[in-house]
Subunit: 641 residues, 2 copies
């Protein structure tokens, strides 16, 4: 096999419970049978022998019900364990059981259901096989403008289902070239085959589509959402597509965003644009995911009035309540673009009557591109737990959004995710999507034990580094929420002025005395987009969380932080500390030699070497840049260049 | 014809002299016949009728002698004008006569010979048809790994000869991919045909070769210049090549430079490497052009000891006298890399017993990429006139070097050079190569009259803008010799820190109070590479020419210049003034509407629009960057961002 099994690498377990000796199956659907097969093979791997086909006694009894949801239940009956659920529920239940067994759990009881009904991965794969912001090799969905299928897709579906996910949008939201033609019958037989492979494991297929498809494919001279011919084209195309390709979740659309076509071209609102598509999908039971990443990407850097952080709320908050029920507004976790530190998007707290899906990014575009270790789950947890204050209770992000998705970090690499430890982000996102109450540490521990080996020495090294890794990455890169400072285009490595005089609205406006954009009421007013008391907290530099200080405020380098250090000293200290921590990670990993498979050990060792090289550049360039600009030396006399 | 004739666009002249009515030709070689044909066609175009074939009376009498040099002579005999010269001399004489006639000259007398025997263009063309640093379309020499030929190549040869050039190296000094195989017989028939086309107009063909060719092509496991098999391989290959391809000038080699292979790999000196190749060439009458662009291109930006400007002198000055006679050390005009303002390379004054060829760059890599107007001839003149002080007299660069070359600005565009006015750089370089005593203004005037139209209104607009254009470009880009501040990679547009934290040795080291690398005796010592009194002049900030202040010295922003302005105020003023001048150029050009062919007028108008857009970015980004860094406002209160 030219790829790893990640966390589906079942190993022999100690003292297997009695029910593992046999399986009594009453399953009929393809998914039910897939669940059975997983259990048969998993039990065999864990116990060393294939479970008997049996009808009673000490066994696992699987019963497929007619339920259409994804829930399942374990019921103990003496030495028999019963697993009940609908076709899809059995798949998730089977993997839950196998995971539990592998992790030492011996008692199974009670029901489980996912927190969200849409839990998906967004792939930014192009049909030529390349992946936008992909750091794990080429696409396993596409090559040479064709759709791929086969064992790897099946194992992909197993991986998704086994961590709790139930959907994938396979093509880049920037729908270009051949991908536009996924809406033509030429590709539907292959899409149908792919959808079938995925459906066996309860995974729905979604497609990114171009808002201009009626012109690009339909020969129309407009894509105006209020044009009758446009509506008809979408309705007919969607109906034909659903007929040819069952198990479609719906469409994902990036409209009026970074050059993509959208309703603005025709003077229509985002709601008018979305609802037109949503109506076509509703007739097929489909949903529409409509991205809110709408902002001016041709800003003049001299313009200090426009604040990109405001854009999504400015565009979408006034439209609350105007979207059809099967529309989910897809909102990035922060207001800008997947930086290592951003506040939670205020738009999440402004939609009372609109469904939303939060978008995370597990492909590490701005967080080290799977060359640096950056376990993102603690960040995702912080975000999901964040209280938006738009209602008195149950106001966390997790309780507010209707669904979750993440931009995939997967590709055709042997280990699927480039960095072997980046698998933890995929696994963790899936686990949270099912149950956002899980802790980041719990998830990390599961991943390590399942994917690396159930050995306390491994856990002792890897768990702390995973848990610290995001903070460490943040320490040696752009400080305190200022973001960016990366090389334009590919976004890897430090470049403090990389986007400063460009059109993307991402400015730090640093002078010899101060840095940052003032986003309080006396600045761009961005803080006012939050509900009280958040807006007040962020507006006041004294109450603003310090890790976000430079996101919200323009601050002098000699500003005194709460611990008495100046801002610039804090920046210097963080960068020295971050690099040292990266060195510790690399040393920690080296101690695992011999405890891990040699190929895995050396793959990760190479990544740490690159992380160290790059972290040193980050440390020295960021520190030197601040030093040269401010003229303020490090109080500890460390070398600045 | 899908390309213009540039300055070979002969128009009817007033009062043609009597000798133009007939031509009496005694020519026998292909070049002699080419000269005759040029004169017949030129006379016909200028007088409206074809000159008679005649034997006496009022006519031009052309006599081909056995002379092998390039000189020619005009002799007046009543109404007969005699032109005498060897085969090549007649070509240059014919174009001299035609140019003179077109420019209103009516009396021709005396002999002419070129200042240098090697006067060439270096093309950085790749065999796939792309051109490194090319801004005028694709290569007309290569496509799809094949060598092209035909009418365009013939007209290319005419253009070169008509302005005084006599050689071209057709392939990129970075010899890669198929170009390595130009040394294999596969390409020799096509090379021979090409060489023949060129030879008709007195142009010699040169080839860039890879120092590692014995390994890449010869199957040897070394390219060590002291290895006998390596010497034999070069000797045999060169002999066979010369046999198959006559009219070869020799080889151009970029060795031990920016990743290219070279003698350093084997612990050999540059002289040992060059002489080995030179010996192989000497047997065939060929020359070796050996580039001196040797420096550390993987410098750590933190390292303040290494000074790239020193590298060429450090490497080559100690080797003076060790190179064979047929080696010409090819030295860029400045010590770094074709910036808009650099001092003259000190290496030029350090070679007493070594032949050298100075390398200019007329492809506008760092001078606006043929989108901005930048007439380079005034700069080349300054360089050629520069006194190196290595001897009491005749110590100018022009009197010191043995030959001249320039990196070509030509490509397959209709106008050959992207910007129609960039043709002046090609024409001017050719004219200077024959006679470095010509003035930049004289050359500009010739170009305008020949290529744009002999109309005082055109000259009145275009001549001043050509003459000011380099200073203007300098004003709105990187200030006072600091160089760089461009976007990495493509080198177009402003980026003050673009190369600051990179590996290329091009640092400004700007802080909140000062900018520049100190290159005096208390700094890197670079100034000591010049002869006295130059070294003293440059070493002292008080005597250093101000336009080079930031090349030689680290200076505080509040340093007071000779006119009483501070350094930073001078920078602000220059940038505002440069942009305004660019605006004036565009307005000036607009006044020519109707006086020029419509297509030419609008091509240049579009270039000026882009120049203005880009100059505004340069002005504002450079000024803002200095303002933010220094905190010092413009004393005139103009807007800084």
């Amino acid at each position: 096999m030219d790829y790893s099994s990640l966390w589906l690498n079942w190993q022999p377990i100690n003292e297997p419970p009695a029910f593992m000796s046999g399986i009594c199956a009453r399953v009929h659907s393809a998914s039910g049978k897939a669940a059975l097969r997983e259990l048969q093979e998993g039990f065999a791997a864990m116990t060393g022998r294939r479970p008997a086909d049996t009808a009673a006694g000490a066994c696992l009894c699987i019963t497929e019900t007619d339920a259409e949801d994804e829930s399942y239940a374990f019921i103990r009956e003496g030495e028999t364990l019963r697993l009940e659920g609908g076709a899809r529920g059995l798949v998730f239940g089977a993997f839950d059981l196998l995971r539990g067994l592998a992790l030492g759990k011996r008692e199974f009881d009670g029901a489980s259901a996912p927190r969200y009904s849409v839990r998906m991965l967004d792939h930014w794969d192009n049909m030529d096989g390349s992946i936008e912001r992909g750091y794990a090799g080429r696409s396993f969905f596409f090559e040479d403008d064709r759709i791929l299928n086969g064992p790897r897709i099946r194992d992909y579906a197993r991986l998704l289902a086994s961590c709790g996910l139930n959907g994938c949008c396979i093509n880049n939201v920037n729908v270009k070239a051949e991908a536009v033609r996924l809406l033509t019958p030429d590709h539907w037989p292959a899409l149908a085959e792919l959808a079938k492979t995925l459906a066996e494991y309860g995974i729905k297929l979604w497609l990114s589509v171009s808002f201009a498809a009626p012109m690009e494919l339909g020969g129309l001279d407009t894509a105006d959402p209020l044009d009758e011919a446009v509506c008809r084209w979408w309705e007919e195309t969607t109906a034909a597509l659903y007929k040819a390709v069952p198990n479609l979740g719906g469409f994902l659309v990036k409209a009026d965003s970074e050059g993509r076509p959208g309703p603005f071209t025709y003077g229509r609102t985002q709601a008018e644009g979305a609802n037109m598509l949503a109506r076509a999908l509703a007739k097929q039971g489909g949903k529409l995911l409509w991205r809110c990443f709408v902002y001016n990407c041709t800003q003049d850097w001299r313009d200090t009035k426009t604040d990109r952080a405001r854009a999504q709320c400015d565009h979408f908050a006034p439209l609350d309540g105007q979207f059809d029920d099967n529309v989910l507004l897809q909102i990035k976790n922060g207001p800008v673009d997947f930086q290592v530190r951003e506040p939670v998007s205020p738009l999440l707290g402004r939609l009372e009557h609109t469904n939303s899906i939060i978008e995370f990014q597990i492909t590490q575009e701005y967080t080290g591109q799977q060359k640096h270790l950056c376990y993102l789950i603690p960040m995702f947890k912080d975000i999901l737990d964040f209280r938006l204050c738009h209602r008195a209770e149950n106001d966390s992000v997790a309780e507010t959004v209707s669904a979750v998705c993440a931009v995939s970090n997967m590709g055709r690499d042997y280990n699927w995710t480039g960095h072997d430890l980046a698998g933890a982000n995929l696994y963790g996102f899936g686990r949270l999507s099912w149950d956002p109450a899980l802790s980041a540490e719990e998830i990390a521990r599961e991943f390590i034990r399942l994917a690396l080996g159930d050995d306390e020495r491994i856990i002792a090294e890897v768990l702390p580094m995973l848990m610290r890794s995001r903070e460490v990455y943040e320490q040696y890169t752009a400080p305190l929420g200022i973001g960016w400072m990366v090389n334009p285009g590919h976004h890897y490595g430090p470049n403090p002025d990389g986007y400063e005089y460009d059109r993307w609205g991402t400015y730090h406006r640093a002078t010899n005395t101060a840095i940052g954009v003032e986003r309080g009421p006396n600045g761009t007013g961005y803080t006012e987009q939050y509900r009280k008391p958040l807006s007040d907290m962020y507006a006041d530099v004294a109450s603003c969380p310090e890790e976000l200080l430079l996101f919200f405020h323009r601050v002098n380098y000699d500003y005194v932080m709460r611990d008495g250090r100046t801002l610039i000293q804090r920046i210097y200290d963080d960068h020295f500390a971050g690099y040292e921590a990266a060195e510790e990670f690399a040393q920690s990993w080296d101690r695992l030699e011999g405890l891990l498979p040699e190929d895995l050990f050396s793959r990760v060792q190479e990544r740490f070497a690159e992380q160290l090289r790059s972290a040193r550049e980050w440390r020295d360039i960021i520190n030197s840049w601040f030093y040269r600009r401010s003229g303020i030396p490090d109080i500890h006399g460390r070398e600045l260049y």
